[in-house]
């Protein structure tokens, strides 16, 4: 049997024992005064040092110190960890339901809800995590269970288990004592063929659209002709560079890039053109596009290899997107007239202009959620392999209220009664001496 505390900070209250000790020591410092007919036969003694060493009324002092101790310990709420208490603790189970809320299961939400409801009974504590990413859900569940007041912990994943939604490494990352179970919600494997990008086109070239077909483990992407429906990119460059701009568009279209949607706009500005009144990009899609484009390795590689002379770059609120080899801003972005505006300190014919345009187009168009298009499922045998039972763990033990403080409070009360009785039954040394005198 061991001992735990629910409120160990209250043990600091044991320092209050000093109170009665000091009171008894200080009270002892003054000897009781008694009257006597004459002092002529008495001699004075020096015993002050002895008085300080020995407190008065040791029995009462012990009782009072014991009362303070019992109260302080009771306030700290001790919990005696007995075998039966430990067994009861290990019987308690904390369960986290990780419920898939991804697009793929949208058609089976009610069945997932029913499965979750069926799992709520029988366990001590149940909490739910709704997620579109099962791997993140598992991590979140592990964190939740770390704080759970139960001897055993279990995660139940309710999902259609698309292939790739969970991996062996995700499962291995969980603590070994946490149990893991899976409840599969069957969903129709529709959407085997769906639309991908609508491509950026230039000049008289026809617009094309991706058509993606998932067939078991095989994927086919077909480009089919489509009417241009997106919004065109605006180019601001000196008139003598019009040919270069057209060439730039053709190159990017040939390389493959998405067409930007109608609710977003992009303006490319080259040296020599008049700069519009700009402001820092604050709209969410602009900020996201900026973040994606600044992480584009292809653009950074091309920019860092640029060695030509640079035109004078504009200052704030323009934000550098790519730097040349000497660390000077080569591509800068800002917001103007609800459009994302990019200034390229190079001619439209420069490779960096093409890299910047392609990178910004890809960054502006929201990436399709390819994972949700997956039609293959994790196999039942794989899920069975990952399934495991919850194990009790000593490391999970946390003392649970109510502790055993009530016994200590009872003891303090009993001691208080005894102290009261002792105080009346045995007068203090002072009273005794006065009485004797």
């Amino acid at each position: 049997m061991s001992l735990d505390w629910l409120n160990p900070a209250a043990l600091a209250g044991l320092a209050l024992i000093a109170g009665p000790v000091l009171v008894h020591l200080l009270r002892r410092q003054r000897a009781p005064r008694v009257t006597f007919p004459t002092l002529q036969f008495l001699v004075p003694t020096r015993a002050a040092a002895a008085r300080l060493r020995r407190p008065s009324d040791l029995l009462l002092l012990c009782l009072r110190a014991a009362i303070v101790s019992a109260a302080a310990i009771a306030a700290a709420q001790p919990v005696f960890v007995t075998t039966w208490r430990r067994a009861a603790w290990e019987q308690r189970l904390a369960r986290v339901l990780v419920i898939d809320q991804s697009e793929s299961i949208a058609t089976a939400v009610s069945r997932a809800r029913d499965a979750a409801a069926a799992e709520r009974g029988g366990s001590t504590q149940v909490s739910e995590i709704h997620t579109t990413n099962l791997a993140d859900g598992l991590k979140q569940a592990a964190v939740t269970l770390r704080r759970a007041d139960a001897g055993r912990a279990e995660i139940l994943v309710i999902s259609d288990f698309q292939l790739g939604s969970l991996t062996a490494s995700d499962v291995r990352a969980l603590p070994a004592e946490i149990g893991l179970r899976f409840t599969t919600v069957d969903t129709p494997r529709t959407g085997a063929t769906f639309q991908g990008w609508r491509s950026f086109h230039a000049g008289s070239a026809p617009a094309v659209e991706q058509q993606i077909t998932l067939d078991g483990s095989r994927t086919r992407i077909a480009l089919i002709a489509a009417k241009p429906s997106g919004r065109a990119v605006t180019f601001l460059a000196p008139a003598d560079q019009a040919e270069d701009v057209a060439a730039l568009k053709r190159v990017v279209a040939a390389a493959g890039a998405p067409e930007i949607p109608v609710d977003r706009g992009l303006t490319m500005i080259f040296p020599g053109a008049v700069l519009p009144a700009a402001e820092p990009p604050r709209v969410l899609w602009m900020v996201n596009a900026l973040a994606i484009a600044s992480a584009d390795d292809r653009l950074r590689t091309v920019a860092s290899a640029h060695r030509g002379a640079l035109a004078r770059s504009p200052g704030p609120p323009w934000v550098p997107l790519a730097l040349n080899e000497s660390g000077q801003p080569l591509v800068l972005v800002a917001a103007a007239n609800k459009d994302l505006v990019a200034y390229v300190s190079a001619a439209p014919s420069d490779l960096v202009a093409a890299a910047a345009l392609r990178s910004l187009l890809s960054a502006i168009v929201p990436p399709p959620n390819w994972r949700e298009r997956e039609v293959e499922r994790l196999s039942a045998s794989q899920l069975a392999e990952w399934t495991r039972a919850a194990k009790p763990s000593a490391a999970r033990w946390t003392p649970q209220p109510p502790g055993d403080a009530r016994w200590l409070w009872g003891l303090a009360l009993l001691l208080l009664l005894i102290e009261g009785f002792a105080r009346r039954a045995y007068p203090t040394a002072r009273e005794e001496q006065a009485h004797a005198a």
Binding site: R33, T35, F36, P37, T38, L39, P44, T45, Q433
Partner: protein, 298 residues
């Protein structure tokens, strides 16, 4: 005879006359006659007969032997005149283990003696003193006088310092003729001064009896542990540990008692130690028996 008269019981009786009567009756019952003597019809001397002398005073036997007439002469005839000097200083307010203060014990003893003397027609007076004489009642006879004396005794409240010497001196002077001075005191005073006045009183022809009133606690030092002792008269304090000083205290106190016993014996003063725990009749009987055996000190 009552076996013992517990002072604790007697002190609880408010009627001092009753206490005195009970005490005296219980005490005298064992004695055949009072040990107090007056000075009546005491033969003094012969002188040669002169014409006109009363013939009844002629000593005829002497005439037969010597063939001369001699007339017998006598001293003045009188009863005993006594004056009680009761110490009412603060130290007399100390109570022993039985809760009877020394002042109370002295009061009871005084009442009993007053009753005894009044019963045989002797005069008795009272001096109550502390630092000075607080009250004086001249010696007279008669029961009405005794009652007023007992009332005065019952009102004695201890307090203040002691000056037994001046009280003794005053008592000696207040007695118009030779008499008995009875001192009730714990004698915590200037010993030399008291001693001087005792001798003076004896020289003046007075008979002196001292009741040294004490409690057992004073004799043995009945304190325990470490205490701050406060003098009942001077209010001075002293920090002491009783167990450490008890032996030395008892030696000093024993010497104090022995000094007084010796001193009184030397001057022919009747010295009686009166413990407040001792039965009242026992103390009184001890005193009376000693007087009967030894007779008046003079």
């Amino acid at each position: 005879m009552i076996a013992t008269l517990d002072p604790r019981v007697l002190s609880a009786i408010s009627d001092l006359e009753l206490v005195a009567r009970v005490t005296v009756d219980g005490t005298i019952a064992g004695l055949h006659r009072s040990p107090f003597h007056g000075y009546s019809a005491e033969f003094s001397q012969y002188r040669p007969y002169r014409a006109g002398d009363d013939l009844k005073y002629v000593d005829w036997k002497l005439y037969a032997r010597t063939d001369r007439f001699y007339t017998k002469q006598f001293r003045e005839t009188t009863n005993l005149v006594a004056l009680m000097a009761v110490d009412a200083s603060g130290s007399m307010g100390y109570a022993g283990v039985n809760g009877v203060t020394k002042a109370t014990y002295a009061r009871l003893l005084g009442a009993a003696l007053s009753h005894l003397l009044a019963g045989q027609g002797d005069g008795i007076g009272l001096v109550v003193y502390d630092a000075a004489v607080r009250q004086y009642i001249p010696s007279r006879t008669g029961w009405s006088h005794i009652r007023s004396l007992l009332v005065a005794l019952s009102r004695v409240e201890p307090g203040g310092r002691t000056a037994a010497a001046s009280a003794l001196k005053r008592a000696s002077e207040l007695l118009k003729r030779r008499g008995l001075i009875i001192l009730f005191s714990d004698l915590y005073d200037d010993e030399d001064a008291v001693d001087r006045e005792l001798r003076r009183a004896v020289r003046m022809g007075h008979e002196v009896a001292v009741f040294h009133v004490l409690t057992p606690d004073e004799v043995t030092l009945g304190l325990t542990g470490e205490v701050e002792v406060e003098d009942l008269e001077s209010q001075k304090t002293m920090l002491t540990r009783a167990s450490d000083v008890r032996a030395q205290y008892q030696i000093r106190f024993g010497q104090f008692l022995e000094r007084w016993r010796t001193r009184c014996a030397g001057y022919g003063v009747d010295y009686t130690q009166a413990m407040t725990t001792a039965p009242l009749d026992e103390t009184l009987r001890t005193f009376l028996l000693r007087r009967r055996v030894a007779g008046p000190a003079r």
